[in-house]
Symmetry: C2
Subunit: 223 residues, 2 copies
């Protein structure tokens, strides 16, 4: 498979950095091709705005989402957005590595989603959920938390729903269950190693792991 | 009351801009003092990082959250962060105006939370939820959505929980129910006016509206 890792952590020596390095190593050894978008190193701009487009549509009233749709149909995305879309197009599998901050992605990664999963490119015109425009791809998140496991019962449901259901599946992707390293800043060596071992096993089985089951558009009464 | 409006929309002519202007006008007329953090106009940097601090703590291993705690105890936040903290300190009431993107805040506002609701300043050392460090303040969100109301049953629960419970209440604030303008981009004039009227009523009653009921730390078994 062709795998894009989207990685959001400032410190390469962090546990997030270690998990990202483990993924590159494990997936490459398994014969996959791997690219990494290291958002902090790239100084990725997370602010959505007019600078996302090489030219505007000319509509009198500027609407960001409408500009995205227009840009998608005529190829007018700014270079930094288009480069990420090219990587997404190339990839069969998207792997997100980030620390959970305030029950969601750090802003630098949230802004990657805002700008790259653009209307007309990743979804739109009734094409969402099982009809999303990134259909055929798979995705998975590997996250760390500040707090212990007890604070996050059913992480696939309560912690990750907005990301997994509302973003990845919304755009049509099959979503593998999240791998969570709880209390990442407070682990002893044995606990760190246990998370690295469990993550390596998840990485070695991404082709056979069963995706989360979500309802179709029709089942939600929207289709 | 002293009210800080944190506003995240690129286009002043948008419905979000109109709602923000309505809030400034209505709250001022009611005798409140109002300040606005207009994040797009300010070109607020949403990326959390070393630049958040005038000096680092000197710890060998750089950890962002630990640097926040250290900076909070010795006053070493960078100017853009400190200016927002000064406004939060000044305010009795925080009002957030933004469009819901991907079930959460636009990245420019998510990054405001990442950087301004810092460890040691807004929470930390066991001080969270009913013991959060912003205790005594109230907060409320006014949001717009792309989709219709049917897609968001129980907005205070399913749409806004991460923001209202996981951020505002986590830092100790009382949270008033969200005001949602659904399908903001597809309203006719009468529908727009109905949302403006209902929002004005909410603004006129912020001193008497009952906050959402959330469990205390002790009730969650964490205290």
């Amino acid at each position: 498979m062709k795998i894009l890792i989207v990685y959001a952590h400032e410190n390469p020596a962090s546990f997030n950095g270690t998990l990202k390095d483990l993924a590159v190593e494990t997936l490459t050894q398994a014969g996959h091709e791997v690219k990494v978008s290291d958002l902090y190193s790239m100084k990725f701009n997370p602010i959505a705005g007019r600078h996302d487009f090489t030219d505007l549509s000319g509509e009198e009233f500027y609407k960001y989402q409408a500009e995205q749709s227009s840009a998608a149909s005529t190829g007018r995305f700014a270079r930094d957005v288009q480069e990420e879309m090219d990587k997404v197009d190339w990839a069969d599998f998207l792997l997100f590595q980030y620390p959970v901050w305030w029950f969601d992605m750090p802003a630098i990664l949230k802004g990657w989603v805002d700008r790259v999963f653009a209307a007309g490119y990743a979804y739109g015109g009734g094409n969402m959920f099982d009809k999303g425009l990134l259909k055929g791809k798979r995705a998975m998140c590997s996250v760390t938390t500040g707090g212990p496991e007890a604070g996050y019962p059913d992480p696939d449901g309560n912690l990750m729903r907005n990301v997994q259901f509302g973003r990845l599946y919304f755009c049509g992707m099959e979503v593998l269950p999240v791998h969570v390293s709880f209390s990442a800043a407070h682990l002893d060596d044995a606990e760190r190693q246990a998370y690295l071992d469990s993550y390596r096993k998840r990485l070695e089985t991404i082709e056979t792991t069963k995706p989360l089951e979500y309802p179709t558009l029709a089942e939600m009464g929207l289709g």
